[in-house]
């Protein structure tokens, strides 16, 4: 409910004026019961659902809002506008309504600011030819998301707006409000729409049952340039999503104003007329409406599209020191990059404020844990209604009554929201009052709030692992909505099972590991150097390994960034900073030869110039880079006039005169990419081509330049370069993989033959040079993946832990990845990812010790070293060692590494001897649960 209204000061000491708009509901008292919204008579369009349905003036943004508190919309509330009503106040059970709430202005004294105001979805009402706003079955993609969502206006059952019938044929129109300078001013590409349309098409299949679903996507270029994006695209094609390279002129309403009719011309000129049940406009991302205000307040430079203006060398930095930018405000982007680059902004802020790390944060202190070893089991059962999520289906009173009858249970109650702050307080009181030593929470999935309940226990002095959750929401109420009686019976089973398990729960210790405040960075290219610098600037000692005898990697070979900034001067300055930084040790001709340990505590050997040395470090960042492949087609290697992009950049640097003389040059895209051998997109080549052709035209305006492409993937503001290239007279001719161009030699003449689908004629072009966009490959990572037990994907690119939630972490804790070795990317994204890796690594390094979750394996006396479990462990956390038994006999026994173990239980499931169990999930506990489950079965 707040916005920034003013700022003064400078980096290290800003004073920011923030206006807190009144919520009219006391957040301390609100328990989000929803009664105020139920009783509120005033209905308005629900902006969260984009006006597809309505909400009341007393509302909550969405069901899972954080904070989970209601608010009253001051603009529409009847009492606030006209002095009548106050129904909400009458019914609120906790007197949380506060009509006296006022706007409040606070001054916040901060060291740095990060601006991530997001984007505004493009409004296609001005595109009268698409009929948005007039034809009911024409919706925007964001509206479509709401229609698909289970929390949306149709509760996930997709129906079309006109007659509420299920649509069977749906068309997506791409590039609405992007790549368009006629009907709007958004010449840029919004980067995400191709992918989200494909996703929507695929997800639709999950919502529409039966045969006959036809999804069609009408596009100009399909921009699936991210990691695994091309695979996603190909899989959509395989699943029957139709991709039509055409653009309809007008969308007309279908019969009875239901559905739509579209007329479009195929690439070969044939005109088709098709009817669809719905049309979805893939709208672009614009800057938010308040971006001008923000820019004024912060004196920020914006680019011509009013996104933040940043340098490619410092993509999270604005023109103002101490003010950083992230997310779509920096440039439209998808979630993986938004998450990565948020970490980039964080580390920029961190580094600026490094002298004050830890000043204003505190470690939470818990009371010491009481021992329950000699206590009888006393269980408290808290059954959550989850508003109406659970209680709407399950009879929670009945379950509560039942729970009281079960063994060990001394206290049972029913809460509206077990996770709310006031319930935690009450729970703590009851634990003390009834001397409870095991808690059952029958509510949602542990993944949402288990950590919260564990904290509550800790705060009362109980070991956090004495709480057990019975998931009567996701695994019951949500999926048995039509069978409330059976759902209630199942909830009783679930509670009984949880009690059986909890009765056998014992306190478990969380392991602490020391953290060595040192980092190892493998790879001395721009990614490695930027990560090292970022870590070093945060006062962490860093060792930077480079395999060759020179820092810089591929950056030596590329002339400019996508925004046209010269790379060489930046590179030389970067190398100098790295080599002279007191916290960085650079080892050239070096590589890792052995590695062991885990997060916070790695050790191993490094080979430097032939000699070995030992190193110890807390985290490692892999930035081993990539390389341009050598093409195997188009006469490459057979005729010196056929070159790659890096060859061209070298010529532009060292011998531009020879290029100036050229009269005709053809670029061929996707050489070795997007084929069977490398089914991925190398991402940077389209942009590099358009940059190169602009440069060539600058050298010789009369030069004839052609680009033969499959899809031009100049995403974001790179689209401007594509436009510039076309304006300069460069001709772009598309080709499909089934009809590739051919390069041939006729005597001394080099010719490129291809088919122009627009001309509908084969053409043969005489050329002086052919420039091939050779695929990018990751440098070989086999040794490293073996050493560190991390993974690369099928294409050889190192894998991040999760593409969206953890895009720079690797799945092995303590390892991070950045740069080309993760996936091809332009320099600004490499720098962003490198800094983000430093940010994430710093979270670990800034602690002196790390606490690991306690759900880990432990070995019992029954282990006889058969080692069946060794191979099944996905984290290679088990090793065999010699063991001296009590009777003096020696045998093998396994030992598990607590830091590597993730408690998956595969070892325990495999072991035939009872030699290894998982804390919190022992065989006894699981057996007890199964027995409890089958209690009622004859």
């Amino acid at each position: 409910m707040s916005e920034v209204v003013d700022v003064s000061g400078e980096v290290g000491n800003f004073v920011v004026k923030v206006k807190k708009n009144p919520r009219y509901i006391d957040m301390e008292k609100c328990i989000a019961c929803g009664l105020c919204a139920q009783k509120c008579p005033r209905k308005v369009d629900d902006e969260f659902n984009l006006g597809l349905n309505q909400r009341t003036s007393a509302y909550i943004k969405y069901g899972q809002s954080v904070p989970l508190k209601y608010a009253i919309d001051g603009e529409t509330c009847i009492y606030l506008k006209r002095g009548k009503c106050k129904a909400c106040e009458k019914f609120c059970p906790t007197s949380a309504i506060n009509f006296e709430d006022q706007e409040e202005i606070v001054d916040l004294n901060v060291g740095a600011v990060i601006l991530s105001p997001g984007f505004k979805p493009f409004d296609p009402s001005g595109f009268d030819f698409y009929g948005y706003g007039k034809i009911p079955d024409v919706v925007t993609s964001l509206e479509y998301e709401r229609l698909l969502s289970s929390g949306g206006p149709c509760m996930g059952h997709l129906v079309r707006p006109s007659d509420h019938r299920e649509p069977k044929s749906i068309a997506w129109i791409q590039c609405v409000g992007s790549r368009n300078t006629n009907r709007c001013e958004n010449g840029y590409c919004s980067s995400v729409c191709c992918m989200y349309a494909i996703k929507e098409a695929l997800v639709t299949a999950e919502h529409i049952a039966g045969e006959g679903l036809k999804q069609s996507i009408f596009y100009m270029d399909i921009r699936s340039h991210g990691k695994d994006f091309d695979r996603f695209y190909e899989s959509a094609k395989a699943k029957g999503v139709r991709f039509v390279k055409a653009r309809p002129h007008t969308i007309e309403a279908g019969q009875d104003n239901c559905g739509v009719t579209m007329r479009y011309a195929q690439e070969d000129g044939q005109v088709m007329i098709e009817h669809f049940d719905m049309a979805v406009l893939s709208i672009g991302l614009e800057p938010t409406t308040d971006v001008k205000q923000l820019a004024d307040i912060f004196k920020l430079d914006l680019n011509q599209y009013r996104f933040a203006k940043t340098s490619d060398f410092s993509p999270a930095c604005s023109n103002r020191p101490g003010v950083y930018v992230a997310g779509a405000f920096q440039t439209p982007k998808a979630i993986p990059r938004a998450v990565t680059e948020a970490s980039t902004a964080a580390v920029e802020a961190t580094t600026a404020l490094i002298r004050s790390r830890g000043e204003l944060t505190q470690q939470k202190i818990y009371p010491s844990e009481r021992s329950i070893a000699n206590e009888e089991v006393r269980i408290g059962v808290f059954i959550c209604s989850c508003g109406i999520n659970i209680s709407g289906i399950i009879n929670v009173d009945e379950v509560a009554r039942y729970a009281r009858s079960l063994p060990h249970v001394v206290h049972v109650e029913n809460n509206l929201f077990s996770c709310s702050a006031d319930t935690q307080e009450m729970m703590a009181k009851k634990i003390v009052e009834h001397s409870l030593n095991r808690i059952i929470i029958a509510a949602c999935t542990p993944r949402t709030h288990e950590a919260l309940f564990q904290e509550t226990l800790q705060e009362t002095g109980l070991n956090p692992y004495l709480v057990e959750m019975a998931n009567i929401r996701n695994q019951n109420a949500w999926v048995h909505q039509r069978e409330p009686e059976m759902a209630t019976a199942k909830a009783k089973d679930q509670v009984r099972m949880a009690i059986a398990k909890a009765a056998l729960s014992v306190p478990i210790e969380r392991t602490k590991v020391n953290v060595i405040p040192k980092a190892l960075v493998i790879g001395g290219g721009v990614a490695g150097m930027q990560t090292a610098l970022s870590l070093a600037d945060q006062n962490f000692e860093t060792v930077l390994l480079e395999k060759s005898d020179r820092l810089g990697g591929n950056a030596w070979k590329v002339n400019t960034t996508d925004q046209g900034e010269a790379i060489r001067p930046y590179l030389e300055s970067l190398i100098k900073r790295v080599e002279t930084h007191s916290n960085i040790q650079v080892l050239k001709n070096a590589s890792v030869t052995s590695a062991k340990g885990s997060v916070g505590n790695f050790s191993g050997t490094v080979q430097v110039n032939g000699g070995q040395r030992e190193i110890a470090y807390g985290v490692a960042v892999l930035a081993i880079g990539g390389r341009e492949s050598r093409p195997e087609e188009y006469l490459f290697g057979q005729d010196p006039r056929v070159i790659t992009h890096l060859d061209l950049d070298a010529m532009l640097r060292d011998d531009p005169a020879s290029l100036k003389k050229a009269q005709s040059i053809v670029f061929i895209q996707c050489v070795g990419s997007r084929d069977e051998r490398r089914p991925y997109c190398s991402r940077i080549c389209c942009t590099h081509s358009v940059k190169a052709v602009i440069h060539l035209k600058g050298l010789n305006p009369k030069m004839n330049v052609y680009v033969l492409y499959r899809d031009i993937r100049t995403y974001g503001e790179r689209e401007d370069l594509y436009r510039k290239a076309r304006d300069l007279g460069v001709l772009f001719i598309s080709y499909g993989p089934e009809r590739k161009p051919a390069v041939s030699l006729d005597g001394k003449d080099l010719t490129v033959k291809t088919y122009d689908p627009i001309l509908r004629m084969p053409i043969s072009i005489a050329v002086d040079h052919v420039v091939l966009a050779a695929a990018m490959e990751a440098n070989d990572s086999h040794e490293l993946t073996e050493l560190y037990k991390c993974a690369a994907n099928a294409d050889g690119f190192l894998n991040e832990a999760h593409p969206k939630l953890r895009p720079v972490d690797m799945s092995v804790d303590g390892l991070f990845v950045a740069g080309l070795c993760n996936y091809p990317k332009p320099l600004n994204e490499t720098i962003a990812q490198a800094k983000a890796a430093a940010a994430r690594a710093a979270v670990i390094l800034s602690q002196t010790e790390m606490t690991l979750d306690a759900i880990k394996s432990f070995v019992t006396d029954k282990c006889d070293g058969c080692a069946l479990c060794l191979d099944v462990c996905p984290y290679r956390a088990i090793k065999l060692e010699n063991y001296q038994a009590a009777n003096g006999q020696g045998h093998f026994r396994i030992a598990t590494d607590k830091a590597l173990c993730k408690g998956c239980g595969l070892c325990s499931a495999t072991c035939p001897k009872g030699g290894v169990y998982v804390h919190g999930f022992t065989m006894d506990q699981l057996r007890a649960q199964v027995v409890a489950a089958l209690e009622d079965v004859a």
Partner: protein, 148 residues
């Protein structure tokens, strides 16, 4: 991080140097050995230690002079469009907190990273809840995970 010698700390606390060594070895006082026979102690850890052992926090203040100084490299943040960071000197110690404007996925991630590495964060969101546009999505590409 504060860097201390065992003897120095013992004197300040009025205890025998063996006491300090025992504390460190037993893990009661978490310290990392470093060059020159010094130990590195995290300020916060020390603060908690002081509290537990009833030691006045003034000791902490006195030891701040032993704080490890920032590196001699270029000043940490990169200055606008000129990648050659100008040395911008901050006269006073910077405030260890950050304001994040916008509670969408980017704002939330930045907030978490900052908080987890020791900076207080004020997250300002103009609507009544955080989550941004991502909360409006059903599933997200390329994994088709549920957005929530």
């Amino acid at each position: 991080m504060i860097a201390i010698h065992v003897g120095q700390l013992a004197r300040k606390l009025g205890v025998h140097r063996n006491t300090v060594t025992n504390w460190i070895n037993s893990g009661k006082l978490k310290a990392t050995a470093t060059v020159g026979k010094k130990y590195l102690i995290d300020k916060n850890v020390f603060r908690i230690f002081c509290r537990e052992y009833g030691i006045s926090e003034n000791i902490l203040q006195e030891l701040i002079g032993n704080e490890t100084v920032p590196s001699k490299g270029d000043l940490p943040f990169t200055q606008n469009l000129n990648f050659n960071s100008k040395e911008v000197t901050m006269s006073a110690k910077p405030i260890g907190s950050v304001l994040v404007v916008g509670g969408g996925i980017a704002g939330m991630q930045a907030t978490l990273d900052l908080a987890n590495s020791g900076y207080f964060v004020h997250l300002v969101e103009k609507s009544s809840g955080i989550g941004g546009a991502m909360a409006q999505l059903d599933k997200t590409f390329p994994t088709n995970d549920c957005a929530m």
